[in-house]
Amino acid sequence: MIRYSIVIITAISIFMVSCKEKTPPALPKLGFKKIVDGEEVDHFVKDWSFMNTDSAIVTNKDLSDVVYVSDFFFRSCPTICPKVAREMKRVYKAYEDNPQVKFVSFTLDPKRDTPQKLKEYAANLQVDTDKWWFLHGDKDETFDLTSEYMQIGYEDEDAPGGLDHSGKLILTDKEGHIRSFSEGTDPDETPKLIKDIKTLLKEYEEK
């Protein structure tokens, strides 16, 4: 009898503890720390400026009121890009009506992916370029930016399409910190990213 009671009490305690954990833990700030003015601060994405599909210049400061999901791609990419784009669109669909979330795709092949070509690409992907930016800029600056978003991108003659790059979807907060990511080639990881965006938005609601 006593043994039963102990089991029941333990079970109830476990239930109560799990009930308490309703609010998910805050998302970490990912990446190596940076040194700014001699002080160690959390990693943040450095300033950038690129051209959008209307050939207007946009910068990371234009994204300081939203959280955004970004990836690196190129239109003629014969490998992972279409799958990454599909997962990106899944996340886009989940937040289509939420103005606090935007999407940013940087092309790694600016020579061929002109703003006009990217505009066509967006139309064919059937997404709105106000909400999902397709950005064109200096090639070296773009490759340089991949590491800022904790990704890899480099030219490789042997790679299909001449470029090798990772296909992560990166979630960046309003302050430019990277807060979550998913592997764009793995559809099973996408729901977690969709949930993490919700968690991140909550953080701003509570402020």
Partner: protein
Amino acid sequence: MRKNNQTYIFLLLAAITILHQGCDQETYAQGKRLYEAHCENCHMEDGNGLAKLIPPLQNSDYLKNNQDKIACILRHGQNGKVIVNGIEYNQEMPGKKYTAVQITNITNYINNAWGNDYGVTSLEQSSISLQNCK
């Protein structure tokens, strides 16, 4: 008696081998492996393609009605506009130096995957098609 036993064991092993092969024999397994390696990144695991960028192979009137072109498209790629199920696509598809055997296997896989029922091609047919590529 001993000989009998040996016969039984032999029969049993033979039966297991045959059954085992039966389990492994997925339809068009070779074509499926090739599809996964070379086609799936764009046409997707369900053959649905992507929006208006990459045309579907599943339930695709283009695939169904252009069986004589498939071999050449696989080997030489495709450029320019195509209309699939009433939607226009214009994204370059790269070709690859597949052998006629590989092309036959891929064709038979996509012709019969995801509920497609577009028939079966032979090595002979694929080879003839390949000789007539434009």
